[in-house]
């Protein structure tokens, strides 16, 4: 699924990486626990989270995740966006809840990482 489709499905706002929306993501994980995300062996999946802080970006950086979708219209500050830009990431934000976000994307065909 293209990131552009994800943006449309969950009515997301793109906060950085607008020029990379044609990238395909094959799978996603939804978690607010970064410790869990760090145990995943796979790379290049979409991280859906309600944990909106610098450490969620750092966790994505270490885990080779290039796209993050923040749920519940969380406030993503400039420091986070700058760190995302430094790492060539796509950062998005949706007004949908975690449940609604995951439900819509799963129904549209986005696979879980496991």
């Amino acid at each position: 699924m293209k990131l552009r489709d994800i943006v449309q499905i969950v009515e997301a706002e793109v906060l950085c990486g607008q020029d990379q929306l044609d990238i395909e993501v094959g799978a996603a994980v939804a978690s607010d626990l970064m410790s869990d995300v760090l145990t995943l062996k796979c790379r290049d999946f979409l991280l859906i989270t309600g944990l909106c802080n610098v450490q969620s970006i750092r966790t994505a950086e270490m885990s080779d995740i290039h796209a993050i979708l923040y749920v519940r219209d969380k406030l993503v500050d400039l420091e986070m966006i700058a760190l995302g830009e430094d790492n060539n990431m796509i950062i998005m934000r949706t007004p949908c809840s975690m449940f609604k976000t995951v439900g819509r994307l799963y129904t549209a065909g986005l696979k879980p990482v496991y």
Partner: protein, 140 residues
Amino acid sequence: MEFKFHVEGGDFTSAGTASSQIKKVLKQINIDPIIIKRVVVALYEAEVNIVAHAHHGDIKVKITPQQVYIRLDDEGPGIENVEKAMQKGFSTASSKVREMGFGAGMGLPNIKENADIFTVRSEVGKGTTLEITISTVNNG
């Protein structure tokens, strides 16, 4: 190549700076991305542990053609029971650490999972030393 970093306890904003710099270096010297991920995940978990539990700490990273060797020395409360701390799910983390998305008792087990050689030495009331070695030659 050798790198040194200082980490302050409680400074969650800077946590990950060392891991980020090491990741850039490993990419520049064309290390296998799967090995890079193992190194930086292990280092990041250990870096976050210093921020979460210690007063301060020092990180040394030595990169040779065969391996990445990481040593983290912190001054802090130490680990009372290392064997217990190595069990998945055991945690003494504060609520602040949990709010940051960590403290689920998965850090040390995940470092062990990613390392080829991993040792923990700790003295209660003094601090903890972690040594992590990951081979860059054999992906095993």
